[in-house]
Amino acid sequence: MTLLSDYPPHDPAVPTAAPAYQPHTAPHDPTKGTTMSNDARTRHALSVLVENNPGVLARVSVLFARRNFNIDHLVVGPTEDNKVSRMTIVVNVNAEQLHKVTNQLDKLVEVIHIEELEDADAIRTQLWQINDNGPRPVGAMAAAAF
C-alpha cells in the first residue's frame, strides 16, 4: 500500500501561534459601503446566549458565512439552565463590522443575548492552547494553511 505521505509524519514543523495582531496601516480608502474593508481590524470575543435547540450552531455559522464574516474561534457549551447554551465566538473584524455582525446575530430568533467580552486576545490565546493539542495537519492542506 502506498501512502500519500508517511504516517506518522516525520517531525513536522510545529506551527507556532499566529503572531500578535498588528493593525493594518493600509492607505485610507474612502470607498463607502464595503462589507469587508480591512482597516483597523481587531480581535473581539462575543459571548452569545442561545436557545439549546438542535441546529442552533448551524444557524449561527450559516449567518457568519452568509454575511461574509470569518470566525476565528468558536466554543459552544452548556449553561446552568439546560434550555440555554453559551457560544464564545472570536472574530477578527473592525468596529463597523463588529456592529454589523452583532446586529445580524441579534436578529436570530434563537439568540437570546450577546455581549462582548474584554480581553479577546487572552481568550484567543487560551483557545489556541486547547485547539493546538490535536494531531498535526499533514499534507497539502497543511502547507496551504500555514
Binding site: 454589523k100 452583532t102 430568533v109 439568540v111 467580552l117
Partner: protein, 601 residues
Amino acid sequence: MTTTHIPDGATTTAPGDTGGASVGAELRTGAEALVGTLERLGVEHVFGLPGGAVLPLYDALYGASVRHILVRHEQGAGHAAQGYAAATGKVGVCLATSGPGATNLVTALADANMDSVPIVAITGNVASTAIGSDAFQEADIRSISMPVTKHSFLVTRPEEIAATVSSAFHIAATGRPGPVLVDVTKDALVAAADETMLQLPMPGYRTPTVPSPEAVRDAVELMLGARRPVLYVGGGCLRANASEEVRQLAELTGIPVVTTLMARGVFPDSHPQHMGMPGMHGSVSGVATLQKSDLIISLGARFDDRVTGAKDTFAPKAQIVHVDIDPSEIGKNFPTAVGVVGDARAAIAMLVTEWTRRTAAGAAPDYERWIAKSLGWKRRYPLGYDAPSDGALAPQLVIERLGAISGPDTIFAAGVGQHQMWASQFIGYDQPRHWLNSGGLGTMGYAVPAAMGAKVGRPDATVWAIDGDGCFQMTNQELATCSVEGIPIKVAIINNAALGMVKQWQALFYSERFSHSQLPSMQVPDFATLATAYGCVGLRCDRAADVDATIERAMEVDDQPVVVDFRVSQDAMVWPMVAAGTSNDDIQHARDVRPDFGEDE
C-alpha cells in the same frame, strides 16, 4: 466584564392574543391540531400540494374551513402565498410535502426573504425515527432554508405543533416581515397532541421598538438644515401600511419623493412631488434627485445596489437619515448620520409631529431652488420610448394601454426582466398593494402564481399578470390551477421571442453576441393555444391597431382566466439605464444620450 450590551427587549412570552390554555377536550392528532391552529389564526386560504409525508395533514384538511388550493408545482404555491400576502397584507400560507416538495419551495422562500413578505411555509418530513437515515423523500429543509428565511422550525413532538405554528405566524407578521418555515415530522402529525402550549417562549425574539424621540429630533434637525433633501421611500412603507403618513410628511415638508421598485404606489405617481423611481431603470429625475441631494431621508428602503449604482460615487454630497424597522439595515451599506429604528408608520408620524412643532416654533427651511431643479429634470426628461425600427408592436405601448384601459383599481403582478421595468415605468400606480413583483431576488416566473394568489386574496379586483415569454414558461402550469379553482386572472405575455433583458445587456456590453438569449420562434409554444389547453381564453395581438380592442376583449372575460400573447418588437430596450457597476451620474436617458443636470449648487 461587559463592554457592549445589546439592548435586550426580549420577551419571555410571545405577545399576541393567543395566550392561556385551551379547554381540555379530547386529544386530537398533531395534524388536526395544526389545521385547528390555522383556523384559530383566521387563515382562510392555503396553497399546497400533497405527498406522502403530509398525508395525515391533508386528511385533517379534508372538510376543514380553510380553503386549500391545489397548485401544480410547489414553487407556484410559494409565489401564490407571496402574492396573497403582498396584495392583502395578511400572512400567506403554503404547504408542501417532504424532500422535493419542500426544496421546490426554496425559491419562493428566498424571494419572500429578500422582499420582506410575510409567508408561512408548512412542510412535512419523514418520521423523526427515520431522520438522518436518508429515508425516501427526506431532505433537511430546516437547514436548507436557514439562510433564506426569517426563521425555520423542525417539529418532532406533537405537543409543540400548535405552539410552533402560531409562533411562526407571529414571527412572519411582526417586526420586519419575512418567510417562516415549519417542518413537521410525519409521526408528530399522526400522534395525539396535547394542545395546552399555544406559543413558544422565544426569549430571543424582539418585537419592534418605538422610535427614539432623540433620533426623530435629530432627523428633523437635519431635514431643516438641508438645502436639497429627498424622501427615499422603500418597500418598508408598503409593509407598514404607511402610505398615508408618507403623503402627509411629503406634503407638509414639500420635499421631493422617489419611490423604489418595491414601493411603487405607496406615494401616488400622479402627485406633483413624485420624481419617479430611482435606480438602474429609474427615471432621470428620480435618479438625479437622489444623486444630487444633500440629505437622503430613507423610509423603509435598504440602499440596494440597483438603486445606488457604483457605491463609491452614490450621492456624494448626501448625509443619510435612515428609518428602518430592522436595526441591522441601518449603516449596512452606507454610513448613516441618524438612524431611526422602528415601524415606518410610527416613525413617520413622529417625524410629522416633530416637524410641525419645529416649524410652528419658527424654523423655515428653504427648498425652493431644489424643488424647482427637480421639477426641471422631471419636465425635461420624461419617460418615453421610440417606435421600434422593425415596425413591430412596441412593448411599452402594450403596457401603457393595459394600465390605461384596466383602470386604477387593477392589481399588476410582473415577472422579471424588461417587461417588469416597463410595467413599473409606463403604468401609473396611485395606490399601495397594486404592484407586485420580485424586486430583491429577481425570480423569473413570479408573475402568474403571484397574480393567482392576489386574485384569491382580492377576488373583486382585476388582476393582470404582465409576464415575459421567458418567465411565463417557468410557472405557466398554474393556469391549470386558476382554471379549475375559478381564479380568473389575466395574463399579458410580452412576447419578444427572447430573454429580453439578457439580450439587452448582450447588445450593450457584449458586442451584440446574443449567446442563448434568443428563443428560436414566437410560435413554439403557441401561447394562445396553450391557454386554451389549460381551460383559459387565449388571445393574440401583433398590431398596434389591435391593442386596445384585444385588451378590452380580455377585460370582458370575468369567469375564466385570459392569456393574451402580445407579439412585440425584438429590439426594444429599457431606458433610462444606469449600467451595472457605473455611477448614477452616468445615467443614459436613451442609448448614448446623457442628460445634462446643470450646475451643482
